[in-house]
Amino acid sequence: MNNSAQNRLEGRNLCCIRGERVVISQLDFTLDAGEALILKGPNGSGKSTLLRLCAGLLSLAGGDILWRGAAVEKAPEAYRAGLTYIGHLDAVKPVFTVAENIAFWSGLKPGAPRLGAALARLDLEDLADLPAQFLSAGQKRRVTLARLAACDAPLWLLDEPTVSLDHTSTRRIAELIGDHLAAGGMVMAATHIDLGLTNARTLTLERLPQERLP
């Protein structure tokens, strides 16, 4: 996390169209190092869409997303190396063990993965050698979230990270996010629960009128 002071994610005048409907229109946001941006809003208001836009998985209909002041399309690979995205789906292969699943995904990122630390952080040490097909939904979610602790990406994009987690695990995740922010990391998260973060701003998205494009 070198040069964390320069890290800044900015969205300018973002527009996104999904299935001939405008989901996000003229949206601006900024996210600085050490800050969290919590996305709130009713179902269908575009929280997941905004996270996928920021990850580069969806294409913009208009506007710019800037990382350190430069448009992300100019250096997509460098940008992607610095982000971890947690989506709705867990991306956990049932025939691999917990440790193998975490090791593969964190191995794709630059830098040596911290597998042991990630297992400890998410309380997965006892399960490390268990094939993932025997895990419960909450345990699978923890395997997915362990990717956050295993690599050094400064930007975290989290889509409902605490879904199907129990109370203790939710607190662990809140602590993990808090520590990341304290170390100069950045978090953009769609969540309905209060994670108790100190340095967090809320971005409320509205559900746009459902008129079809001409």
Binding site: L57, L58, A78, L89, D90, K93, G107, K109
Partner: protein, 221 residues
Amino acid sequence: MSGFFALIVRDVRLAARQGGASLLTVGFFVIAVTLFPLGVGPELAVLARISTGVVWVAALLACLLSLDRLFQADFEDGSLDLLILSPTPLELTVLAKCIANWLTTALPLVVAAPVLALVMHLPASGFAVLIVAMAVGTPALSLIGAIGAALTVGVRRGGVLLSLLVLPLYMPVLIFGVGAVDAAAMGLSPAPHLMLLGAISLGALVLGPWAAAAALRLMTS
């Protein structure tokens, strides 16, 4: 580059642990070829005449079987998003998946082909060329197939559509693959056919990952 090799290793291990996807492909290949002597009759002259074509067509269809899971499995569990987001360029990611697909499905077919050629009474002079032609031609099957697999990712019942997209593109491989073995069986040089097969594979190596990556970006966005 480490991500590239890590993905090959991961896909090969996945195939090995998921109860032998390779075995199923080879099993299909064996059964499909074995049906011909039963259907056509045991006349050796007839079998010898059609042997090369039957082995190649069965190999094409067997390769096709494995393709609809090439990206679909990763798409369904969210892995495809993460592969797109990895710092490795998507073209290299696709190439890594093609190499793993070739190692786990096409390579076993290359090994099984001579045994089946024996069943089909292929003239002895054609065996070596059959193995070489399959080794040279099958990479094109994985690489071209990846384009079809990428275009049908996320499509319900995409397997049939995939066959319609990919089989016409497999025709040149079939023509020159059969041509090489027939030429050798008739005592002619198989070299021109093998070179054309090699050219198809090299062309697919350049175009396949690039086109499949573009298709994946289109289908996931």
